[in-house]
Symmetry: C2
Subunit: 341 residues, 2 copies
C-alpha cells in the first residue's frame, strides 16, 4: 500500500559560498504514479556527493544546474513498487537518479539493477557505485600506476580516496593518503593499510608529505583541489599523471588568499616535468569498463582486500544537514541517507 504523500527536498535558493539550511526546503506532495511504460520507485538509500554542490549554482558546470524550486538531484538505491516496464518487476532493486525524495517516477532509463546477494545494498552508492568507479577508472585508466611507484590521494578516508589507495597497493604501488584529523588518519593507516598518511591540518603538512614520498609522486589523484596542490606540485616526478575528478575545496567559492597567481608555477611544472593533468567524469568510461570494475572490486570486498566505510544518516529530513557536513569534511566514510531502507 502506497502512502498518499511523498516528501521531497527542493532547492529553495542558490547558496553564495557555503550552503545554509535556508537553501533547502522540505515539501510534501502527492505520491506520483508510474508513467505509461515506466516505473514508480521507492527510495531506500540516497547518496550525498560533492558534485551536488555544483548543481546548486546557476553557473554552468559539466551538467545542468538544479532550478530553484526543483527537487535536489541525486542517485539512490530504490525499490520498484509499480512497474509498467517489461524489464523490471515489483521488488527489483535498482540504482536510479531519483533525487532527494521518498518516491520517484522513472521512464526506465538510466537505471542499473543491483544484485542484493553481491554485497550490502548501500555499497551500490559507494565502493561498488559511482564513487568506486570514479576511483577505479581514474586510477587505472588515467593514473596507470606501476609497481614501485608512489600514488598520493587526498580525502583518503572518503569513498573515492580510500579505494584509490587500496587499488594502488593491489598493483604494487606505494599508497600515501592525506586526511583531516587524527581519527581519519588512524583509519587510513591502520584499517585501510595505506603505506603512509598525512594530516593536512598539521602545521608541517608539506614537509610531512615530502618525507612520506622519498621517491617523489608518480600519480596524484586530485579529488580535493585547493592548498594541497601546492604541496604536491614540487614532489611530482617527471611523467607523473594527475587524474582530476573533484575540487571539493573550491566548490564553495574562492578561498581568501587570492594575492598570488598560482597558475604560472603550475604551467611551468607541467612543462618541465612532462606532467599529464586529465579531468574526468566517471561516466566517460562506464560503457566500456563498468563490468571490469564491478568484478574486480566485488572480489576485493569478498576476499577482504578492499575495505570501505559508510556514514549513514537517518531520515530524508536530515539530508541537508548531512550534505553541508560532508562539504565541511565532517562525514567519515561514504555519506548516505537512509530514506526508506
Amino acid at each position: 500500500m502506497l502512502p498518499s504523500t511523498s516528501r521531497q527536498i527542493v532547492l529553495a535558493s542558490r547558496p553564495s559560498g557555503r550552503p545554509v539550511p535556508d537553501n533547502f526546503r522540505l515539501e510534501e506532495v502527492p505520491v506520483p504514479r508510474a508513467p505509461a511504460g515506466g516505473l514508480l520507485l521507492r527510495v531506500l538509500y540516497l547518496s550525498l556527493d560533492p558534485y551536488m554542490r555544483g548543481r546548486m549554482d546557476a553557473a554552468k558546470s559539466y551538467a545542468a544546474a538544479v532550478e530553484v524550486g526543483h527537487v535536489m538531484v541525486g542517485e539512490s538505491v530504490s525499490e520498484v513498487v509499480e512497474s509498467n516496464h517489461a524489464d523490471y518487476k515489483v521488488g527489483d532493486i535498482v540504482l536510479a537518479h531519483t533525487g532527494w525524495r521518498d518516491y520517484a517516477p522513472s521512464d526506465g532509463t538510466r537505471l542499473r539493477k543491483l544484485d542484493p546477494s553481491l554485497a550490502p545494498l548501500t555499497t551500490g552508492l559507494g565502493v561498488l557505485g559511482m564513487p568506486g568507479f570514479t576511483a577505479w577508472s581514474g586510477l587505472h585508466l588515467i593514473g596507470k600506476p606501476k609497481a614501485g611507484e608512489t600514488v598520493v590521494v587526498a580525502a583518503a578516508s572518503g569513498p573515492v580516496g580510500s579505494l584509490v589507495g587500496q587499488l594502488a597497493q593491489m598493483v604494487g604501488a606505494r599508497a600515501v593518503g592525506i586526511a583531516g584529523g587524527a581519527k581519519k588518519c588512524e583509519y587510513v593507516k591502520d584499517e585501510l593499510g595505506f603505506d603512509a598518511v598525512i594530516d593536512h591540518r598539521s602545521s608541517d603538512f608539506a614537509d610531512a608529505l615530502a618525507a612520506a614520498c622519498p621517491r617523489g609522486i608518480d600519480v596524484y589523484f586530485e579529488n580535493v583541489g585547493g592548498a594541497i596542490w601546492d604541496a604536491v606540485l614540487p614532489l611530482l616526478n617527471t611523467f607523473a599523471r594527475v587524474p582530476v575528478c573533484g575540487l571539493i575545496a573550491q566548490y564553495n567559492g574562492p578561498s581568501g588568499n587570492t594575492a598570488q597567481d598560482r597558475l604560472p608555477r603550475t604551467m611551468r611544472e607541467i612543462l618541465s616535468k612532462s606532467l599529464t593533468l586529465r579531468g574526468f567524469i566517471n561516466y566517460e568510461f562506464a560503457d566500456e569498463h563498468y563490468p571490469a570494475f564491478l568484478d574486480a572490486v566485488s572480489k576485493g570486498i569478498a576476499d577482504g582486500r578492499i575495505r570501505y566505510r559508510e556514514d549513514i544518516t537517518d531520515g530524508l529530513e536530515n539530508a541537508p544537514a548531512a550534505f553541508m557536513g560532508m562539504l565541511d569534511g565532517k562525514n567519515f566514510g561514504k555519506a548516505i541517507v537512509r530514506v526508506g531502507g
Copy 2:
C-alpha cells in the same frame, strides 16, 4: 687550414627578468682539437630557441643551467673538419650540440647526420629539426586532431606554430593561428594558409578568437603561456587536448598582474570539460618517431604543402641581440645565426 682562434659567447651573468647585453660576453680562445675517438666541428648555422632563456637561470629547469663563464648552449648545423671517429669523415654535415661558438670538439655522441640533398641545411634547425619535431610530435602524439576539429596555436608565424597549423590542416582540421602584428598575421593567413589568424595585440583579442572558433577549440597547442591562455580556456571543448611545449611569455619572470589567482579557474575547467594538459619535451618521442616525422615533413616541403620561414642573422657576434629580439617576438620565422656557413 684551421685558424688559430675560435670565438665563443659565454654567459657573463645571470639575467633577472629580460636578458640584457651585459649577460653575454664574446671571447676568443685557441681552436680546440678533435679528441681521441672524436671530432672537431665547425659551426655553420646556430639555432636560437626560447628554451635557452631557461638555461640562463640558476633555478632548476628540465635541463642543467649554463654556468656563469661557460659557453651558451645551443644546437647547430656543423661541418666535420677533423675526425678520429669511424662513423664520420671530414666534410660530413651534422646536427650537433655545439653551443654558441665557431669551433667545437665532439665525442661523437648526440650527433645527427644531415642529408644536404634533402633540403637546405638551415632546415635542420627548424622545420626539419627540433622545432619541427616539437610541432609534429606534440600535435600528433598528444593533440591528436581529427578531421573537422579546431586546432589553435600561438606564435603561429614561428617555427613550431607554423608547422602545427599546416600539419593540422593536412589531417582535415581547422587551423587558427595567433600572431603579433599585421605583418605576421598576413603571412600566417596568406602564405601559410591557416583558416584564420588573430592578432594577440588587438584590443578585442578574446572576442576575435571566439569568433574564429565557432565550434570551440579541440586542440590548443600551448607554446607561449601567459595571457593567451585566459582567452583560450573558455573556448576549449569537452575532451580538448593541450600539448604544452613552451611558455615563452613566462620565461622572463612573472608578469605585472599577480592580483588574481588564475589556477582555480583552470582546474575547474580541466575537471568540468575533461581536459588533458600534457607537458612534453620533444626528445621524449625522438627514438620512436623521428624517422616518421622526417619522412612526412620532408615530403610536405618537397611537394609544397609545407612552407616555412627563417630569420637569419649574420655573425656569431650578433647572436645575443638576435636572441633577445626573439624573446620579444621580433624575429619573423625560425631564428638562426649564420656563423661559418
